[in-house]
Symmetry: C2
Subunit: 124 residues, 2 copies
Amino acid sequence: MSTSDEDRADAWFHALADRTRRDILRRVLAGEHSVTALAQSYDMSFAAVQKHVAVLERAGLLTKRRQGREALASGDVEAVRSVGLMLGELEALWRGRIARMDELLATPDTTPGTTTHDTTHGTD
Amino acid sequence: MSTSDEDRADAWFHALADRTRRDILRRVLAGEHSVTALAQSYDMSFAAVQKHVAVLERAGLLTKRRQGREALASGDVEAVRSVGLMLGELEALWRGRIARMDELLATPDTTPGTTTHDTTHGTD
DNA sequence: TAAACATACAACTAGTTGGTTGTACGTTGT
DNA sequence: ACAACGTACAACCAACTAGTTGTATGTTTA
């Protein structure tokens, strides 16, 4: 495949790592806005805002539809949910660690030959 | 206050925007690891990995405790949840938009003097 | 048709990032 | 005591980022 999950995650988090872009995303999730309408909300050039919108669009967090001379931007809630899902996977890893700790406490004499720490060897 | 919510969000998303850091975070959420143990998993210098760990630590996604000469890093699941919460707020904005659309469809003759589009004016 | 508007993109600049090597300092083991 | 280990940080470099101005192209409107 061309763009891996990690590539998409890079784009997502990089897009979200700028407060202007997060603010733009909030606005376009709440409703459609043209690029100039968005630009008027910030103390920077139109071109700067247009580039922020482009970054969000490339990351898939926002889509644009053309209506006449205007480009109406709209937030993609599915993409936001995908980011949340990835965070959920992180939480799951942590839960696994806790479960492992509980297991050790519950059955203190099993797994007799193993060392006491670092059961998570990388698979790369 | 010194560090605003937006400052923290900047740090969170910037820390998550690098795949090596995301991988480190996965490992330290699954279990404690020393910095050298982490460094051995990646094809880069120890110093590079140490800096990645420092970025995650400054963002609050990871904590370190000292044990002898080792620094044991552990993922902070609460911070991960906070990031998820922020995404949830984005989703809520979108739900508000949908609710507003439904409202318009349900009562087609109310709000007689308003224009048909863009009910979300900025408040700055 | 001409002027004003909305967008897109190229070129440039200052600051930041992700990597490197080298050095310093506390800790462990012989 | 001393060598090896684990960590931290400074200095440096190439690549990238976020902003700028300027230009080009298409769309409305007078």
